[in-house]
Subunit: 195 residues, 2 copies
DNA sequence: GCGATATGTCAACAGTTGTTGAAAAATGGA
DNA sequence: TCCATTTTTCAACAACTGTTGACATATCGC
């Protein structure tokens, strides 16, 4: 039976992937061995290779994400910051999507390929979304600063876990971030003459 | 001769430390082996242990930093954001201080003790500095958000190296960041009634 | 029952890691 | 020169890594 709707191995494959996402998200690529993942998934280390070919490919599968940024073209310009911030908090708090993001952000600083993937996500998903709502000619620096804000919030709250950040309720966090994003979107390019 | 002004070994010790700072800052704790550092410092791997006892202690020595935040009590309130931002860019761009910061931020996501050290720096250096210039009762969340902004800038520019961030001139970066920090300092606490 | 295929287990490989202790070389004062 | 101390080198250790291939077990149509 080559391709039945649900094969026996698909469930263990999913178990392995779930364990990998959880451990990679908490300790990063180098902090987790295949035997660690195999132990958590109740599987043999050789199976991980059988199903995912290599540790890198397993990590790549665990780090697969889609930002699913909301459509912004129809939104009121003053609401864009709020919308983006709310979407950010939702995506990071929901384990189904947040775990993958944690995997990515946790390992990107020490894994060159992961950093490259984040750059690709920025160029392919974040920049187009900002361009769609920014009528000023050069919106690239706005996208970059917004990305730095969002990643700064994520880093301090979910990765470094600064107490002042983890203690903040999600909706308050969203309002702060929304305000800041809106500030960037509304601002003009800073020139040398600016104080 | 027990304690001459400059002993022979002090120079190789310094060479080892410099190599460690450079490599740890670029690849993180797990991405660098003692043999890598020894190779770069033209020394024997055993020497690193002899001088620093263990890899963890060597890393700790390489990650030793002091933010040296400027005295803000006398500054005009409207200038604080600009002052902090300028100090931030200087500290990160200067290799003497920037390398140590890179070591810290690169490894903090995967090294629990390094993350703990960053939390300590935040509590011991950043929060007091913000408290000194903020007259509103609760300035802790302001300090947390400012830290997230600063770390977001550092992460995207020096660690992930988003092109839109690395291409930005230092002074432009400082002006953007200064504006944002000032916005946070001037803002009031957000309540549920806030749109 | 049989045989084929899919699934899981086991032991072992070659390489790298941090760390150690003993031996060798360099250094400088007597 | 010889001696004592500092500085460096060398070889090896035990543990862990990703990965492999051979073997065992289960599953299911017939």
């Amino acid at each position: 039976m080559p391709n039945q709707p649900t094969r026996k191995s698909d469930r263990t494959r999913a178990r392995i992937l779930a364990a990998a996402r959880e451990l990679f998200g908490e300790h990063g690529f180098d902090g987790v061995s295949l035997r660690d993942i195999a132990g958590q998934a109740d599987a043999d280390p050789a199976l991980l290779i059988r199903y995912f070919q290599s540790k890198d490919r397993l990590f790549a599968a665990a780090a697969e994400i889609d930002l699913r940024l909301p459509e912004l073209t129809g939104a009121r310009p003053d609401d864009v910051g709020c919308i983006l911030a709310a979407h950010f908090v939702e995506t990071w708090e929901d384990p189904r999507t947040g775990t993958g993001l944690r995997v990515l952000l946790r390992s990107a600083p020490t894994q060159k390929e992961t950093a490259e993937r984040m750059r690709a996500i920025f160029a392919g998903q974040v920049m187009p979304a900002i361009r769609a709502v920014d009528r000023s000619g050069a919106s690239d620096w706005k996208a970059a600063i917004i990305a730095s804000q969002v990643l700064g919030f994520a880093l301090t709250r979910y990765i470094l876990e600064l107490p002042a950040m983890t203690h903040m309720p999600g909706d308050e966090l969203a309002r702060h971030l929304g305000r800041l994003i809106q500030t960037i979107l509304d601002s003009e390019r800073i020139t040398d003459a600016d104080p």
